[in-house]
C-alpha cells in the first residue's frame, strides 16, 4: 500500500492506494498516529485507489477511529469504490464511519461543524 499525505489548512488528507490488509494495516496505523494524536484533528482518508480491503484493514480503520475520538478529533472516509463500500455495509461499519462521496463534501462537513 502506498500512502501519501496532504495538509489542507487544519485538515489532513491521507490518500491510500492499493490493498488494505494485514500487512498494510500496521503501516496505516503508524502513519496516522501523529495526526490522530493532535487535539481536534480533522482527518480525511481518501480511499479512491484502495482496490482490496479485508477484516484486518477494517480493524485498522476502527483503531484509527477510536484514536481520533479519544483526542476529540474527527475522521471522514471518502471516494470508496462501490465494492469496497459494500464491505462497510455488510459489517455495519457504515454506521460508525462518516463516509462521504468526495473530499470536497468531507471538507464542507468539517467546516459546518
Amino acid at each position: 500500500m502506498n500512502i501519501s499525505k496532504i495538509a489542507d489548512g487544519d485538515i489532513d488528507i491521507l490518500c491510500l492506494e492499493g490493498r488494505l490488509d494485514l500487512a498494510s494495516a500496521s503501516k496505516l496505523k503508524e502513519i496516522s498516529r501523529d495526526i490522530v494524536s493532535k487535539k481536534n484533528c480533522k482527518l480525511i482518508l481518501n480511499m479512491e485507489s484502495v482496490d482490496f480491503i479485508n477484516s484486518s484493514g477494517l480493524g485498522a480503520l476502527v483503531s484509527i477511529l477510536k484514536d481520533t475520538r479519544s483526542s476529540r478529533g474527527s475522521i471522514k472516509i471518502t471516494n470508496l469504490a462501490p465494492y469496497v463500500k459494500e464491505i462497510f455495509d455488510i459489517t455495519q461499519l457504515s454506521n460508525i464511519f462518516d463516509i462521504c462521496d468526495t473530499d470536497e463534501l468531507a471538507k464542507s462537513k468539517f467546516a459546518a461543524r
Binding site: 482490496f52 477484516s55 483503531s63 465494492y83 459489517t91
Partner: protein, 155 residues
C-alpha cells in the same frame, strides 16, 4: 469445472504472497470487479485464519487451498492442521456481528455473509477444512465484446 489446488508452508513469506496468488487465479474468472473482490476476500479471510489461528503461526505446518471454478460457482476449501472451530461456536459467531469498536473478529462473519454456503469438516488426513461456496453473478452489462485477441492484449 477448473480445479486449482495450492499448498503453502505456514510461513511469513508465503503468507505475504498468498493473496496475490489467489488474486491472479480469481482475475481469470469472467465476472465483474465486485464479485471478484468478494471471492478474493473469502479466500483472504480463510487463509489468514488458517495461518494465524488454525496453524497458530507454526511454520512446520502447511495450508491447503483448493479453488473450483465454473461459470456459475466458486468453491474454495481451506485446510489447516489445527483443532478447528466447534460447530456451536461457529454458529454463535455468524449469528452476530462484531461490536462496532472491535478491531478484530469480523473475518468469519464477512465470509458467511458473502458466501452462499459454508461447511466445516475434517478431511481424511484429519485436517480442519472450511469450504465456502459462492454463486457467481453474471455481469450485469457487458462492455462491448472485444472478440478474440483478448489474450494477446493481456500480454
Amino acid at each position: 469445472m477448473l480445479k486449482y489446488a495450492f499448498r503453502f508452508p505456514n510461513e511469513d513469506s508465503a503468507f505475504t504472497i498468498s493473496d496475490d496468488i489467489f488474486g491472479r487465479v480469481i482475475d481469470t474468472i469472467d465476472t465483474d470487479i465486485a464479485e471478484r473482490h468478494k471471492m478474493k476476500l473469502i479466500v483472504s479471510e480463510l487463509f489468514m485464519n488458517a495461518y494465524l489461528h488454525g496453524n497458530n503461526r507454526d511454520n512446520s505446518k502447511s495450508i491447503d487451498v483448493e479453488m473450483e471454478i465454473d461459470s456459475e460457482l466458486f468453491v474454495v476449501t481451506v485446510k489447516d492442521e489445527g483443532g478447528g472451530i466447534a460447530k456451536e461456536r461457529f454458529k454463535e459467531m455468524v449469528a452476530s456481528i462484531s461490536a462496532p469498536e472491535d478491531e478484530s473478529g469480523r473475518g468469519i462473519t464477512i465470509v458467511q455473509r458473502i458466501s452462499d454456503k459454508i461447511q466445516l469438516f475434517k478431511d481424511s488426513d484429519d485436517k480442519f477444512c472450511i469450504k465456502a461456496t459462492k454463486k457467481i453473478k453474471k455481469q450485469a452489462k457487458q462492455p462491448k465484446k472485444r472478440k478474440k485477441k483478448k489474450s494477446l492484449e493481456a500480454v
